[in-house]
């Protein structure tokens, strides 16, 4: 049963079916915003924009398609398929190393070195030095028909394929393992705590505690300073205390943890909605990266407790163009506000532009990627060996039976070269097996 299932996974059609099923799964993940990849505000906006489909999408778990059991099962099936094919290839390669293993005698090309007469054993044995001089690896073994001499030259590069497919399987497995076991803490540091706004868009958080993750790992992380693309941390754990400099593209290693500073930061505005004595405040991120400064519109941001969404555009002089939208009616209110100004909403409440801030991201990660990197390196090595090594092999088999000498070979490319090799070998073997001239020789 297990053997049958193992063999079933080796079938190319099964692999193809798994791939074809994976593609629509990945396509859904492209179409529907995914938890963890898209910010919550984008998920909310998508839900509002697709009110009809949203309940089904949520019920079917399509917001988390990449971690859904079905998608993981497909990836697992691909890993099994790759492993099964690799094991099969390994078996073939090992068999090819054994005498007589993969030489398809029935397909070899017969050569009649002695006018159709079968070789006798001494004649066949005399061919071994000829083969060795031509660079062939020789071996001999007995068969039911008698004694056999075999020569083999060249390589089919099959081990490259084995290394590639095995590494690919390991890479997929390592990726899945990493996704299942990684623990990450992610924070958007809204630089609203006493920051200094400097000319070159440089924002600095006032020193102070910003601690998290302590409950999970025992490491306390305190953000001491944060500027654009740089900063410093204070780390305290059982191993001791130290300060570390933060920089983009230079993660900090602390035991099993890795701490990253993001650089896709940008401006955020603090808005306040007031209705009577009620006051709700919330940040709206204006732009993810920076292309073009602040004139990239934000995604629609829902106002809690109202049917409205708000989209903001930061104008060059740091005033804010605010559009309030309602799904059924489109834009229901719009205004250009300066800091501290207020606009009225259709339901009688007001919206105030309180402050302009900035945000960046800090991520703390516990994820060992060494196996994945090793597997990726293995994939590349195997790929290069598999695709670019010379892959041809010539066999010659001399038997004591009536079959005489047999020549055969195969090549992945340059078949003309293979033909030349076979012709040269045929001439050498015929010359070596030609009967010696009688004493006295020809006149």
């Amino acid at each position: 049963m297990i053997a049958a299932a193992w063999a079933w996974f080796r079938r190319p059609r099964v692999a193809l079916a798994l791939i074809l099923l994976l593609i629509p799964g990945a396509g859904i993940g492209t179409l529907v915003p995914q938890v963890g990849r898209a910010p919550p505000s984008e998920l909310e906006a998508w839900g509002r924009a697709h009110e009809g489909a949203a309940p089904f999408v949520t019920a079917l778990g399509l917001h988390e398609v990449y971690s859904s059991p079905l998608f993981l099962a497909l990836l697992g099936g691909l890993i099994l398929s790759t492993a099964s094919c690799t094991a099969h290839h390994v078996g073939r390669e090992l068999a090819a190393g054994r005498p007589g293993g993969l030489v398809p005698l029935e397909t070899l090309e017969p050569v009649d070195p002695a006018g159709g007469a079968p070789l006798d054993l001494p004649e066949a044995a005399a061919l071994a030095p000829v083969l060795a001089r031509a660079g062939y690896r020789t071996s001999s073994w007995p068969t039911a028909d008698g004694w056999v001499l075999s020569g083999r030259k060249g390589s089919l590069g099959g081990w490259g394929s084995v290394v590639f497919h095995a590494s690919l399987g390991v890479a997929l497995a390592a990726g899945l393992f990493s996704a299942a076991t990684r623990r990450a803490a992610y924070t958007e540091v809204v630089v609203g705590q006493a920051f200094v706004d400097r000319p070159a868009d440089y924002l600095q958080v006032a020193p102070g505690p910003l601690s998290w993750w302590r409950d999970h790992t025992g490491t306390e992380i305190t953000l001491e300073r944060l500027g654009r693309g740089e900063g410093s941390l204070h780390l305290r754990s059982a191993a001791g205390e130290r300060s570390a400099e933060l920089a983009v593209n230079a993660p900090i290693e602390e035991g099993p943890l890795t701490i990253y500073l993001g650089d896709f930061n940008g401006p955020a505005v603090l808005l306040a909605r007031c209705r009577g004595a009620e006051r709700d405040e919330g940040y709206v991120h204006l732009a993810r990266p920076v292309a073009g400064g602040g004139d990239v519109p934000s995604p629609a941001f829902g106002l809690p407790g109202t049917p409205f969404g708000v989209a903001c555009r930061l104008l060059p002089e740091r005033s804010l163009k605010v559009e309030v939208r309602e799904r059924a009616r489109g834009v229901v209110a719009a205004a250009t506000l300066r800091r501290g100004e207020v606009m009225a909403l259709p339901d009688g409440s007001t919206l105030a532009y309180v402050d302009l801030s900035a945000w960046t991201t800090l991520e703390v990660l516990q994820d060992d990627v060494a196996p994945l990197y090793a597997a990726l390196a293995g994939c590349l090595v195997g790929l290069v060996v598999m695709l670019f090594s010379e892959r041809w092999q010539v066999w010659v088999v001399a038997t004591g039976s009536t079959r005489g000498l047999l020549l055969g070979g195969q090549a992945r490319k340059a078949p003309a070269f293979l033909r030349e090799e076979l012709d040269a070998l045929r001439i050498a073997l015929l010359a070596a097996s030609r009967p010696a001239a009688p004493c006295g020789g020809a006149p």
Binding site: I23, T30, V248, G262, D263, A291, E363, Y373, L387
Partner: protein, 270 residues
Amino acid sequence: MISQAITGWTAIALYAVASAALIVGLIFARDGAVRWATGAAWTGLAAHTAFLALRWNEVGHGPYLNLYEVGSANSWVAVALLLGGAARQPRLLPAGAAVLPASFLLFGVAMLSSSRPLPLLPILDSAWLVLHACFAKLTYGAYLVATAVAALYLIKDGRPGVLERAPALPILEDLLHRFVLLGFVMHSLMIATGAVWSQRAFGHHWAWDPIETWAFISWICYGVFLHARALHGWRGRRLALLACACFAAIVCAFFGVPYLYTTSHNLFLR
């Protein structure tokens, strides 16, 4: 800026001339037209190189930050691969009948997009990004040439009287396989270097970003191509059609996804 526009549009015009001359030369079997096409393509490549050098000098970093830079650099790689390959193997030149038009169209689209220089953010200023971008350009270039060869194969196979100057079908098939091989290795390196860069910069090696996902899908498609040829004996017309279908996944990843969805690659591809 003006010199960039002059060199860029000069290159596009020369590529257009080369395309027309090459197609005429191939269809009407005129050696003179093919020679003119080769000369125009090389001159266009020189102007294109000058354009990229001027751009690099202006912005202070390589051509990988927006469509203006990415599109022009990708088309440069495709033309350079074609002409460099044809210099060694003249039988490759007829593939230019598809590569040159595709390149001048891509370059034209790039030239019409925003040329506003973008700052090189610290998070992008990494050797891994440079490697990732270089392998991406080689990937697209190799696959474009492979698809052009596949198109030539299909035309020549369907209407034997046309394109008599094009190489014989077995040679076209061999070229198709070689360029897919090159593209596949570059594609693998692009994904691997992107994963390492992403891990160092963002803390995750794979995020199922739409572009990542479609790069993976197209990688699988070309893997299927190689398996179909190596293990299942696919040859000829069927293999050429498969190569064209695989390229559709690449086009989708490069042109479709960035315009339809928000991805972390939007900054570079639109």
